[in-house]
């Protein structure tokens, strides 16, 4: 290799081979650096602009993802990774045979199936109402958006107080005001009933965000379409089903995909309200179970496998959704 003309700047080969190598190497480095600089200049600095973003992406997203993928195939030793025991797909098989994981998966899917349509339904109503010329429109827009910007932790604690068995507002209304129930309901102590506050919270907190997106979409529908329909004698319902809904389709597809991903990743509310699966490990979501296995039981390999199963599932569901729901809108 040294015999070839190495790079610019090498004029006379020295008699000492080691010096040649060193000098040549320095020249190569010099040449390469000049090349990089030239490229950057030629690309008008676009590489440079990519660098901060890409370095963050590599450090905080890609590297941890690949590292945890590796962990998921081992009984991982956090102190000395070298002595970790290779398990193949053992952790994945263990998860699929673990009744607590299956229950957590069912809870997560049910949560998604309830909160996604719930959010979209109420968001659509709110968006249509906010699209009317009503007094105090700005106030209502802010009011509906407030839950979105409030911290998950705070609103979860708030819901926990509302649904407190002994002193909660919900039981007070149901038992002492409306007299619908005779006994106080133990909302948080029952693995099924605890899903009521969790799902309500999921819907309530998400409506504002979806409403804002839908409102923007509603306002982009050309007004002349509605005017033409009115001339043809279409009523509100007909206008809604024939104009509004079809034209909202791309926005709705976007919302469904994003909300489903969000729903499957439900975590903070579950962790706080059920203390991670209480009672009886029956109220876990996939991510609360992942957290418990990883950080409470120090089972890093199993925890990683659980999060990868979720990732694969989210990926498949998203692809199917986009394929099924995305059709071109023509008008």
């Amino acid at each position: 290799m040294e015999k070839r003309p190495l790079s610019r700047g090498v004029n006379s080969p020295s008699r000492h081979p080691s010096k040649v190598n060193l000098k040549a190497l320095i020249d190569i480095i010099k040449g390469t650096l000049i090349d990089i600089v030239k490229r950057i200049i030629r690309s008008k600095g676009s590489y440079l602009f990519l660098l901060p973003g890409m370095s963050l992406f590599f450090t905080f997203i890609l590297f941890p993802m690949i590292y945890s993928l590796r962990m998921s195939f081992y009984k991982w030793n956090i102190v000395n990774p070298a002595v970790s025991k290779f398990m193949g797909i053992g952790n994945y098989i263990r998860a699929l045979n673990d009744p607590i994981f299956i229950r957590a998966a069912i809870n997560t899917i049910v949560y998604t199936l309830i909160t996604v349509p719930g959010q979209i339904f109420f968001a659509l109503i709110v968006a249509i109402l906010l699209d009317q010329k009503i007094k105090g429109r700005t106030f209502f827009r802010v009011a509906y958006y407030l839950p979105v910007i409030t911290s998950w932790v705070i609103v979860t604690l708030l819901f926990e107080y509302l649904f407190n068995s002994q002193a909660g507002f919900v039981n007070f209304v149901l038992k002492d005001i409306l007299h619908i129930v005779g006994e106080k309901i133990m909302w948080l102590a029952d693995p099924i009933l605890v899903m009521v506050p969790l799902n309500l919270l999921g819907i309530w907190k998400g409506v504002g965000w979806s409403a804002v997106i839908l409102l923007a979409a509603l306002q982009s529908i050309p007004a002349d379409l509605y005017e033409a329909a009115a001339i043809d004698g279409a009523n509100f319902w007909r206008k809604f089903t024939r104009i509004t809904l079809p034209l909202l389709r791309p926005t709705l597809v976007f919302l469904v995909v994003v909300l489903v991903i969000g729903g499957l990743n439900v975590y903070i509310s579950g962790l706080l309200m059920t203390n991670g699966g209480n009672p009886l490990d029956l109220s876990h979501f996939i991510l609360t179970l992942m957290y418990e296995k990883t950080f409470a039981n120090m089972d890093f390999g199993y925890g990683s496998a659980i999060s990868y199963i979720l990732t694969i599932f989210v990926l498949i569901v998203s692809v199917i959704q986009i394929k099924l729901l995305q059709r071109k809108v023509e008008y």
Partner: protein, 440 residues
């Protein structure tokens, strides 16, 4: 040639990205935290003659309360005066975040030098190799532990070595509301479990949501004092099997007592997870007449209800006539990833000196040195806790304890919900714990 250039280009790009990302993340490979106070440009000859003070920073993570942290600052000042070359850098964390923070630290090679760990975590962290075996590394280890209570010290022992020093200890005792007792014609707290059950019926009126006793949850710490006082055991002393212990006669009787109390309305129903009035608030208002709690009770009640008269008593005696409870507390440990092990061990050793222990004790932390018994600087209410500690028992020192605790918690829930009989639930627990012992 071209190939070589490409390779170089890649290497340079990667190194730039890496160095940039390291700068951005703010976590460069941990440099030794050594502050040198050597005068600038001192000729080398002079260094050998003049004494160079190298100040080493020892990091110490803990989960102390505010009052405890104030006392800790005093202890640190005392230590630093005695050891001018060491600086202690304490970090206070929330209990729930502590374990994840430590694990993240271990994974990222950013561990503290020392920490105050909950006694139940020591076997777990020892098992993964995160802790230094102090009995191998500290010269005078036998002397240091000679004066400590054997119970708390034993919680540092795992697979033939001691991985920590008992920094503080605690246990739970009965806290009772005298006013409520007098209302129903009782003048003293129950001394036996029979009395406990009998008084409980007198003190309860479920229709008005008045209950004799409550507890914050169903995790093992909650029923543990009654469980141990009734003679319950989780496994054999060598931790080889749970069969015949957790599902043995005495353990079953212990849980049966609690389940019966729950069913007849002596126990507040909300403790299974419904969320109710907090135990301390309920005790003060008379909604609950008895709770079982630790020495922190005094601080908590003093802050929120200064007018309330706090009364402690030993846990009622079981059928065999002895009282017992559960040992809690914290151990000071040194991490294998520490770069200043010697200094860290010096700090650990200092935390077990009489002066350090007394300074902490004045803020409600029970010392682990038996030589301090009867010391006038100890708060008066420590007496009952010290007495209870003599027979209190430690939870299983096992790396799988967190999972075992969860298994017992679930079984207790099944019993209270009437989904399993006490015997059935505990038979299942025995089987599950046996599996966990094998895995551990």
């Amino acid at each position: 040639m071209n190939f070589l250039k490409k390779v170089l280009l890649t290497i340079i790009t990667i190194s730039v990205v890496t160095s940039l990302s390291l700068t951005l993340t703010g976590c460069p490979p941990t440099p030794p935290v050594v502050e040198e106070t050597t005068p600038e440009e001192t000729p080398t000859e002079e260094i050998t003659t003049e004494e160079v003070i190298e100040k080493v920073t020892v990091t110490y993570w803990h989960t102390m309360s505010e009052a405890e942290a104030e006392a800790l600052d005093e202890v640190i000042t005392m230590f630093e005066e005695e050891h001018p070359n060491i600086k202690i850098e304490p970090t206070r964390m929330a209990y729930d975040d502590f374990k994840p923070a430590l694990l993240t630290g271990i994974a990222g090679e950013m561990v503290p030098d020392t920490a105050r760990l909950d006694i139940i975590w020591v076997p777990e962290f020892s098992e993964i190799g995160a802790l230094v075996a102090l009995d191998e590394e500290m010269d005078n280890f036998p002397e240091i532990i000679a004066d400590t209570y054997p119970g708390p010290t034993s919680t540092n022992f795992w697979k033939g070595n001691y991985y920590g020093l008992p920094q503080d200890t605690n246990t739970q005792v009965l806290v009772w509301n005298r006013e409520r007792f007098e209302e129903v014609g009782l003048s003293r707290p129950p001394e036996t479990m029979d009395e406990f059950v009998e008084y409980a019926t007198m003190l309860s009126n479920p229709d008005e949501e008045i209950y004799a006793y409550t507890k914050g949850g169903t995790y093992f710490w909650a029923p543990a004092p009654i469980f141990y006082s009734m003679g319950g055991q989780i496994t054999d002393p060598e931790i080889t099997t749970a069969t015949g212990y957790i599902n043995g006669e005495k353990s079953v009787e212990a849980f049966q007592l609690l389940v019966d109390m729950y069913k007849d309305g002596s126990l507040a129903p909300y403790f299974i997870g419904g969320g109710g009035v907090g135990a301390f608030d309920g005790l003060v208002t008379g909604q609950f007449s008895m709770i079982i709690e630790g020495p922190w009770t005094v601080d908590i009640l003093k802050a929120d209800h200064p007018e309330f008269e706090v009364n402690f008593a030993l846990i009622p005696k079981g059928p065999d006539g002895t009282t017992s409870s559960v040992v809690g507390g914290q151990n000071v440990v040194v991490f294998t990833g520490s770069e200043h092990k010697e200094e860290a061990m010096e700090w650990a050793r200092f935390l077990l000196t009489e002066e350090a222990q007394l300074t902490m004790a004045e803020r409600g932390v029970i010392p682990t040195l038996s030589t301090l018994e009867g010391n006038e600087r100890l708060p008066e209410y420590f007496d009952v806790f010290m007495k209870q500690l003599k027979t209190a028992q430690a939870r299983l020192p096992h790396p799988k304890w967190t999972e075992m605790d969860n298994v017992i918690n679930n079984a207790y829930q099944y019993m209270l919900r009437d989904e399993k009989t006490v015997q059935q639930a505990l038979d299942d627990v025995a089987e599950e714990i046996n599996t966990l012992i094998k895995e551990g």
